[in-house]
């Protein structure tokens, strides 16, 4: 199996001391570098957003929430799309009643990818809601309105909370993965509704600030700060995602370990019983 960025091959480090002694269990040199880059990016992002970027003509300083709010929902969208893509592939691979060993490994990898991505999506959707609410209080004079964008976003958040809860229900791993994958494909239907809600309905929430098709409404330092924030939050999310994926891998191993331990105990118990029966017969 070729090593991937998320699953570096330990074979390369066999017979040599770990080059990352002292790091977290889920860390590698690559993720440590990525972590440092993410941390530096977050610091620079805060400086740009809070000091360098000018206040907006109408909103004033409240516009600084844009540099948190937009990147958060951008990462959440990406994470949910990744969850759906991994889930679709998982369902495709698990069509066979008994998939090959390679397919089985791919299924588990895809399940972990979906799990890690969805958790990140939920975190960043929550941050979108919180920052949007604070921003709304400054610009609209209220923390919350049941308008189309806000309501569909809350629905998205709650749906994926349900998805995460479903993943935690006890079941046979393959069945659990398939069940979660179906749920992920249902949940992702809400994503375009959230995105286009501001176009489809009259809402308090403004229309998209950035568009690939129309002229951009943000320019200069505000535009570049926003672009930088999008990149910085993406790097942070990537770092979190890689680590979360690896923790899910360890969780799988721990589950296998626990099952193997229980089986060993049962075997030992039955062996003891057979021995005691034999000794009773001999007496």
């Amino acid at each position: 199996m070729p090593a991937t960025a998320a699953e570096p091959d330990l074979r390369s480090s066999k017979n040599s001391p770990s080059p990352i002694a002292g790091a977290a269990m889920t860390g590698t040199i690559a993720t440590r570098v990525l972590g440092v880059v993410a941390l530096a990016a977050a610091v620079v992002m805060a400086l740009l957003a809070l000091w360098v970027s000018p206040p907006e003509r109408v909103q004033g300083d409240a516009v600084r929430f844009m540099y948190l709010h937009l990147p958060s929902i951008w990462v959440a969208y990406g994470a949910f799309v990744l969850t759906a893509a991994a889930s679709a592939r998982l369902l495709w691979l698990s069509r066979a009643t008994s998939p090959s060993g390679r397919a089985e490994r791919s299924i588990r990898r895809l399940d972990r990818t979906a799990g890690a991505a969805s958790e990140l999506g939920v975190l960043f959707t929550a941050l979108t809601l919180v920052t949007g609410s604070l921003w709304g209080n400054l610009t609209w004079g209220t923390y919350w309105q049941w308008d189309a964008r806000l309501t569909t976003t809350v629905l998205l958040f709650v749906t994926y909370l349900g998805y995460l809860a479903l993943r935690r229900l006890p079941a046979e791993p393959r069945q659990r993965a398939r069940r979660a994958a179906v749920m992920a494909l249902i949940a992702v239907v809400n994503l375009p509704i959230v995105h286009y809600s501001v176009n489809w309905w009259r809402t308090l929430h403004q229309e998209a600030s950035l568009s690939l098709t129309s002229d951009r409404e943000i320019t200069g330092e505000m535009y570049w700060t926003l672009m930088y924030s999008l990149a910085a939050v993406t790097v942070i999310a990537l770092w979190l995602g890689v680590h979360r994926y690896r923790v899910l891998r360890l969780e799988d191993l721990a589950e296998e370990d626990a099952i193997a331990h229980l089986l060993q105990e049962r075997r030992a118990e039955s062996a003891d019983r057979v021995r005691s029966d034999e000794s009773a017969v001999t007496r």
């Binding site: 090593a3 998320a6 699953e7 570096p8 091959d9 330990l10 074979r11 480090s13 066999k14 017979n15 040599s16 001391p17 770990s18 990352i20 002694a21 002292g22 790091a23 977290a24 269990m25 889920t26 860390g27 590698t28 977050a42 805060a46 957003a49 809070l50 004033g60 300083d61 409240a62 600084r64 929430f65 948190l68 958060s72 975190l123 929550a126 941050l127 919180v130 920052t131 604070l134 921003w135 209080n137 400054l138 942070i236 770092w239 979190l240 680590h243 979360r244 994926y245 690896r246 923790v247 891998r249 360890l250 969780e251 191993l253 721990a254 370990d257």
Partner: protein, 90 residues
């Protein structure tokens, strides 16, 4: 609360949430690694263990060699009392 206070609170809350989640992920990884006995991988810490799923030539060192082979993606670091050979280490 003033506008500046709200903005600072928003940024503080966001960064704290992300940092908290990152800390939880790292600590959970560390705890699981310890529970599985994935420890420091050194040349002398344990005899090489054949990796049955990788064929000839595939060996890993440490008390959970085959597991480590499967645990690609997780660094094999941190204290592992079973595989430690240096008595000066705590």
């Amino acid at each position: 609360m003033t506008d500046a206070g709200t903005i600072i609170s928003g940024y503080g809350l966001t960064f704290a949430a992300v940092a908290g989640y990152a800390a939880w992920v790292l600590l959970r990884g560390r705890a699981l690694g310890h529970r599985l006995g994935i420890g420091q991988m050194t040349p002398d810490s344990a005899p090489p263990v054949e990796r049955p799923d990788e064929g000839a030539g595939g060996t890993e060192r440490g008390p959970h060699g085959p597991q480590l082979a499967r645990t690609v993606g997780c660094s094999v670091t941190g204290p592992d009392p079973d595989s430690r050979t240096d008595p000066s280490q705590p």
